[in-house]
Every structure is written in structure tokens, then in C-alpha cells.
């Protein structure tokens, strides 16, 4: 298109407009990706400190212990208050600043417009704004460690009354959340409008790649689930700053004294508003991972995705249902049998589409001659890991089994199988898979495989024993890992093994970090625009790496579904969507 080339000649963008305040979805995707990876690493480091304390309670942290202040780790020995800060901020950072920005902000931003044949997102300036608002939210969260008495300590769930009477770090947490919520809302509006309005000619809904479908449903969840948390955050901020009592009951006793407030509030109100967001949020954490895995499976099995249509239907159903299961996080609150029955039933119903999607992925492997590339290894590992996470969720969805398991290490095991060995593995798969698209170079395969095996083994080393500990009754959020409880004495010894697994897991991330940066400049160059021989538009219709301005040389037209691999009677084993 002469138009585009003219455009290129006329304004060469300054460095700042091109890399910092860019409105190009590809650059914003990279910005999101790098920032989110930084936060994942940061949240991971907080966890390593916690794991040291759990394995060796009261022992000074070696090597780096002296770096910390007397309010956090005097002489390298962790104070309980600091442990609580680490826990709350680990959860918050991993969920809101790490996984979601990487899964949606980075992968979604970069890939979705390419996959649907759009020139950019529908609102490029809004896209830039949502990145920068996210960035400010991250800075606020990080700086909360520096305020008097440190960062938030009331858990990533911020349950009142505790959160209402916490130190200043909690206020910072709420302010940070406002920025993160705003960023997600701007992003969600943008993704939805882009997918509804900018699909290229022939790209009907049922021809959209599964990854784009997943981003579509995820954006709806973000759009509709976040505002109630925003409302809740407004109320909690009012409680903290203008002394209202939305979440403070009458006659609350704090440190032996009755709190001087008007009272009449309800801590359960927060829990309802929080989980109305946070259950859909857990699907925000897992759906993009499923989308990535599906793309990689179809590409590396050289077969159509099994039951694409059924999977899309399940996905939509799952999205809708995720709004009516939230109180399964609250069985212990004594909500009454009627309500509890309702939420148990909806929870059992929602597990059906999850199982359908997982089965679809497994069945896609059937009879395939699989290419065991690094991205495929990560994608394959996702399946059993997510399977374990999902199956261990079922007993939690039934009140009689949930009540003894609630708030134990079992819960931590359950959701980490989903978000860590599950989602994180899938995100890694995505990085190895789309890296050549972004940079025009492959990541190193040997380092990738070392990273993969180390990660898989040690993730399980950390999380598997949590089920045993939880079943034995060990509570979560214990600063000493349960040393003081006699019933825990049998299982507490696993803590050392788990922590050592965590440290080894950290070591096995080094090959990834080296590989990532080395490959940007020195990796093996791709030989053509479609190195994985994929069918979807991001590979088949754009140059690799993509154009600096605009996405496509000519607007692509779509003639077929997303996964036409090994079509009988065809010479090539894949038919790109834009091939007539």
C-alpha cells in the first residue's frame, strides 16, 4: 500500500513516541510484557523470602539478610509483620501486576489485532493510557513497602475488619487497586470493541482462533466483575479515611477495647463484593492460558483442535456461570443451607465446561505425530497440572468437604496448581511460541528444555506436599509454618523440602532469563515469515517480525476456519486462514 509507505517516510517517530508513549498495540504489548515479567520476578522473590522463613523459622536469611531494615528483618531474622506484608503483596503482585498484565495486556494486545486482521486496537490512545495507569498502579504498590509500618498485611483478599484497622500500607493498597482496576476497565473496553468492530473481511466469530475467543470472554469478565470491587474499595477507603463503618460491626473489640465507631456495618459485605470480582478473576487468570495452549497444541499436533465449536460454547457458558459461583469461597460464614445449596450446585455446574475444554485439549493429542518443541512441552505440561488443580477444586465446591479444608494449605495447593504449574507454564509456552514473531529470532532450544524440566519438577516439589499438609489441618498464612501446633508436627517437616524446591525452581529460571535476553540479539534468525507453519493470521499474513507501522501490507481476507491442519487431499499440511 503506497499509503503506508508514504506514511512511514513522512513521520519517523521520535524515540519517546515510539518506545515510551507509543500507541502501537505491538509496542504496548511489549511494554506490558516486560513490566509484567519484572513483577512476576519481584513477586517470586517475595515468595522465596517467605519460603526461607517457613523452612527455617527464626534463622537469619543468609547472604542478603543484612540488606533489610530493622523494622522488617532485624539481624536478618524475619518479623511476623513483615511475613504478613510479603504474603499479602506476593498474592496481589502475582495476580494483578504479573499474570493478568502478561496474559491479557501483553499477549492479548500483541496477538489479538494480528489474529483478526486489524490494523491496531480500536482505541490506540486508550490503549496507551491503560498501560500507563497500570504502571502507576505498580509503582504505588511497590512504594507501599516504604510507608510507615510497611505494605498491606491483610492478605490479597483484604478482609475487614482487619483491613479496616490496618496501618497505612492498606490505604496504599486500595489506591494502587484503583489504578489497576481503571487500567483493566480501559483495556477491557478496548479489547471488546476491537474484536466486535475490527475483524477483517471473512473473519466471522466462528472463524476466530480460540486464543482470540478467550480474550473476548476474559474482557467481558474484567469489564463486569471489576466494578463491584471498585465499589468495595471505595467503601473500605471511606472506612479508613472518613471513619464510616461499612465493614465494622457494632461493638467490635480491638486489643481489648471497644472500637469507637458508629458500627452497624458488615464484614461479610466485603466478602461478597470481593468474591463477586475474584471468582471471575480466577477465570481471567486461567482462560488466556487455555487459549495459548490451544494455539500451540493445534500447531504442534498438525491437527484441527478437537471440538472447536463445543469448546467455544463451553467457554461462553463458563464465562456466564463464573458470575454466580462466588459464595463458594464463603461456605464457612454460615450463610444458611439455602444459599449454600445454590452455590454448591452452580459450582458443580461450572466444572462441566472446564472439563469439556480440558478434554478437548487432551483429545486433540489423540493420534497426532507431535512436534516436541519447547513451547509444546510447556503446553503439554499445562494439561495435567491444570487437571490436578481442577480436580482438587471439586471437594472445595461442596460445603461438607470445604469446611474442614477452608483456609488450610490445601487451598494454597489447589489454586497454585492452577495458576503456577498451570497458568505460568502456559505463559512460558506463549513466550517461546511468539518470541520469533516479536523479535524475528528463536529462543534457544537447549536452554528452553533445561528451563522446562527444572520448572516442571520443582513446581510439583513445592505444591504437591501442600495437599498433604492441608489435609492434616495445617492453616495457611502461618508465620512459622505451624511449628506451634502439635497436630502439624507430622507434616511440617515437608516445609524444608518444599522450600528447597522453591530455591531450585529459582535457579532453573536463570536459563530462561539468559535465554530471553541473549536471543533478542543473538538468537537463531527465523527462515521465513511463518516459522511454525501456522494457520492463524498473525503468522500467515504479516511479516516476521511485524511492520513498524501498521500491521498488514494489504488487508487480509479470511476464507476458512482457524485450524485447517492436515486437510485430506491437500499437498501442504496446513491451510492458512487467508488462503483462498
Amino acid at each position: 500500500m503506497t499509503n503506508t509507505t508514504e506514511h512511514d517516510h513522512h513521520h519517523e517517530l521520535s524515540f519517546i513516541r515510539k518506545w515510551i508513549f507509543s500507541t502501537d498495540h505491538k509496542v504496548i504489548g511489549i511494554q506490558y510484557g516486560l513490566t509484567a515479567l519484572f513483577f512476576l520476578l519481584f513477586g517470586f522473590c517475595l515468595m522465596l523470602l517467605m519460603r526461607w522463613q517457613l523452612a527455617y523459622p527464626g534463622d537469619p536469611v543468609p547472604i542478603i539478610g543484612w540488606l533489610f531494615s530493622d523494622e522488617t528483618m532485624p539481624g536478618g531474622v524475619m518479623l511476623p509483620e513483615f511475613y504478613n506484608q510479603l504474603g499479602a503483596m506476593h498474592g496481589t503482585i502475582m495476580v494483578f501486576l504479573g499474570v493478568v498484565p502478561l496474559a491479557v495486556g501483553a499477549f492479548g494486545n500483541y496477538i489479538v489485532p494480528l489474529q483478526i486482521g486489524a490494523p491496531d486496537m480500536a482505541f490506540p490512545k486508550l490503549n496507551m493510557a491503560s498501560y500507563w495507569v497500570y504502571f502507576i498502579g505498580g509503582v504505588v504498590m511497590l512504594s507501599s513497602f516504604l510507608v510507615p509500618a510497611g505494605a498491606a498485611k491483610a492478605g490479597w483478599t483484604s478482609y475487614p475488619p482487619l483491613a479496616d484497622i490496618e496501618t497505612m500500607g492498606q490505604t496504599m493498597w486500595l489506591i494502587g487497586m484503583f489504578f489497576l482496576i481503571t487500567s483493566s476497565l480501559l483495556g477491557a473496553v478496548n479489547f471488546l470493541t476491537t474484536i466486535i468492530q475490527l475483524r477483517t473481511e471473512g473473519m466471522t466469530y466462528m472463524r476466530m482462533p480460540f486464543f482470540t475467543w478467550v480474550q473476548f470472554v476474559t474482557a467481558f469478565l474484567l469489564l463486569l466483575a471489576f466494578p463491584p470491587l471498585e465499589a468495595a474499595a471505595v467503601l473500605q477507603l471511606a472506612d479508613r479515611l472518613i471513619d464510616t463503618s461499612f465493614f465494622l460491626p457494632s461493638g467490635l473489640v480491638v486489643s481489648g477495647e471497644i472500637l469507637e465507631v458508629s458500627g452497624g456495618g458488615s464484614p461479610l459485605l466485603w466478602q461478597h463484593l470481593f468474591w463477586f470480582l475474584a471468582h471471575p478473576e480466577v477465570y481471567v487468570l486461567i482462560l488466556p492460558a487455555m487459549g495459548i495452549v490451544c494455539e500451540i497444541i493445534a500447531n504442534n499436533t498438525r491437527k484441527p483442535l478437537w471440538g472447536y465449536k463445543l469448546m467455544v460454547q463451553s467457554l461462553v457458558f463458563l464465562g456466564v456461570m463464573s458470575f454466580v459461583v462466588w459464595a463458594h469461597h464463603m461456605f464457612i460464614t454460615g450463610m444458611g443451607t439455602g444459599l449454600s445449596t445454590f452455590f454448591q450446585i452452580t459450582t458443580m455446574i461450572i466444572s462441566v465446561p472446564s472439563v469439556v475444554i480440558l478434554s478437548g485439549m487432551f483429545l486433540s493429542l489423540w493420534g497426532a505425530s507431535i512436534r516436541f518443541t519447547t513451547p509444546m512441552l510447556f503446553a503439554l505440561a499445562f494439561l495435567p497440572m491444570f487437571g490436578i488443580g481442577g480436580l482438587t477444586g471439586l471437594p472445595l465446591g461442596l460445603a461438607p468437604t470445604d469446611i474442614p479444608l477452608h483456609d488450610t494449605m490445601y487451598i494454597i495447593g489447589h489454586f497454585h496448581y492452577i495458576v503456577a504449574p498451570g497458568t505460568i507454564m502456559a505463559l512460558m509456552a506463549g513466550i517461546y511460541y511468539w518470541f520469533p514473531k516479536v523479535t524475528g529470532r528463536y529462543m534457544n532450544d537447549i536452554l528452553g528444555k533445561i528451563h522446562f524440566w527444572g520448572t516442571l519438577i520443582f513446581m510439583n516439589g513445592i505444591f504437591m506436599p501442600m495437599f498433604i499438609q492441608g489435609l492434616a489441618g495445617v492453616s495457611r498464612r502461618l508465620y512459622d509454618g505451624g511449628q506451634t501446633y502439635e497436630f502439624a508436627s507430622e507434616v511440617i517437616k515437608y516445609n524444608e523440602f518444599m522450600s528447597q524446591s522453591a530455591f531450585l525452581l529459582a535457579i532453573f529460571q536463570l536459563p530462561f532469563i539468559v535465554n530471553f535476553f541473549w536471543s533478542i540479539w543473538k538468537g537463531k534468525k527465523v527462515d521465513d515469515d511463518n516459522p511454525w507453519k501456522a494457520t492463524t493470521l498473525e503468522w500467515s499474513a504479516t511479516p516476521t517480525p511485524p511492520l513498524a507501522h501498521g500491521n498488514f501490507e494489504t488487508t487480509p481476507v479470511v476464507y476458512r476456519g482457524p485450524y485447517e491442519y492436515s486437510v485430506p487431499g491437500e499437498e501442504s499440511d496446513y491451510l492458512p486462514q487467508n488462503q483462498p
Binding site: 490494523p119 473496553v189 471488546l192 468492530q197 463491584p228 471505595v234 464510616t244 456495618g265
Partner: protein, 206 residues
């Protein structure tokens, strides 16, 4: 490459990007105020009495003892009228009458300020009588919900004033898109109006 459907609607969806965007944004706003209304119901159901405020020996039996229904009714009228003028502003652009548009848009903004002035009179009389959000759950939810609504009014003023002021240059270069923008601003303004129409009876009357 230009982003398509910024000015003219996409044939199969029948709308422009901005229209889709604003409807989605309003959906999230509904969830925001929906969350607050749910909180209101939840708290009220749990309260032994409502509004249940005893201040300096005086017991307030109903919401209208504390809050001024006439002022709120006045504000309701003002907001509804401003919703009408913003539609008229848009309609004037559709008939290419820019000077009439300026009058109607100006009136809309004026009335929005009127709403805020009445609201601040209400707030300050509350404060003078020592009725602060910390006094009772009723007052707390009153201040938070109307306060959040007032922030939305201020947001509307900023947008509308921009469109009437510096943003109006677009009328010369791209009248269709400018008209679309007024329509989108109007949709937002109607939403702000509707929220108030729910707030008024919920908080002042029942």
C-alpha cells in the same frame, strides 16, 4: 493504516467504534453502581432501624427528616432538563445548526453546575448540623453514593466543556465525527441522569 469505523458505522454491526465503546463502558458503570446499590440493600437489611440516627438528643425517624426532599426534587428536575437539552444539542448538529447547538450545550453545562451547587448546599447544611458520614451507616452510604455520583457529574462537565470549547474545532474538519462525539457524550450524560433517578427515591424517600 487508518483504523476503520471511527466515523462511519460498520455495516454488519451497524455502529461506530465509539458507540460500542461507550455502551461497554456504561455496562461497567452499571456494575459499579449496581455494586453500591447491593451494598445499600445488604446494609439496610441488616440494620435494626433505618436511618436510625440519634443526634444531640433528636431522633430521626425517616430519611426525609435528615435529608431535604425538596432540594433533591429540584435537582432531579435540573438533571432531567439537562438530559433534554443535550439531546437538543445533538439534534441541532444533525440539522447543521451550530449556533443553536452551542446554546443547548451551554445550557446543559450550566444546569450541571446548578446541580452541583444545590448538592453542595445540601452537604454543607448536613455538616453544620454535625451530620457526618461517620455518624451512621445511613449517612455513610448517603455521602458515598451521592458523592460518587457527583464525581460522575463533574466528569460529564469536563467532557462537555471540552467538546464545546477546544474540541469544537472538529466541527469544521469532520462534522460527522463531531456529531458522533456529542451523541456519545449524551449517552454518558443520560446514564448519569438515570443513576440519580434511582438514587433519589432509594435514599431520600424510602
Amino acid at each position: 493504516m487508518e483504523i476503520p469505523y471511527t466515523v462511519h458505522p460498520r455495516p454488519d454491526t451497524g455502529v461506530t467504534n465509539a458507540k460500542v465503546g461507550i455502551w461497554l463502558f456504561l455496562a461497567s458503570e452499571i456494575m459499579l453502581f449496581g455494586g453500591l446499590f447491593s451494598a445499600y440493600i445488604f446494609l439496610r437489611m441488616g440494620a435494626p432501624e433505618w436511618p436510625g440516627t440519634t443526634m444531640s438528643g433528636h431522633y430521626y425517624a425517616s430519611a426525609s427528616d435528615i435529608l431535604s426532599v425538596p432540594l433533591a426534587a429540584l435537582n432531579t428536575v435540573i438533571l432531567i432538563a439537562s438530559s433534554v437539552t443535550i439531546v437538543l444539542a445533538w439534534a441541532s448538529l444533525m440539522t447543521n445548526n451550530f449556533s443553536k447547538y452551542r446554546i443547548y450545550m451551554g445550557l446543559t453545562i450550566l444546569m450541571s453546575f446548578g446541580f452541583l451547587i444545590v448538592k453542595s448546599i445540601e452537604y454543607s447544611t448536613k455538616f453544620e448540623h454535625g451530620l457526618f458520614p461517620s455518624e451512621s451507616t445511613f449517612l455513610a452510604i448517603y455521602f458515598v453514593m451521592t458523592g460518587l455520583h457527583a464525581i460522575h457529574v463533574i466528569g460529564g462537565i469536563v467532557v462537555n466543556a471540552y467538546l464545546l470549547g477546544p474540541g469544537a474545532k472538529m466541527w469544521k474538519t469532520n462534522p460527522t465525527q463531531y456529531t458522533n462525539r456529542i451523541e456519545v457524550a449524551g449517552l454518558y450524560w443520560h446514564f448519569v441522569d438515570i443513576v440519580w433517578i434511582f438514587l433519589f427515591p432509594t435514599i431520600y424517600l424510602i
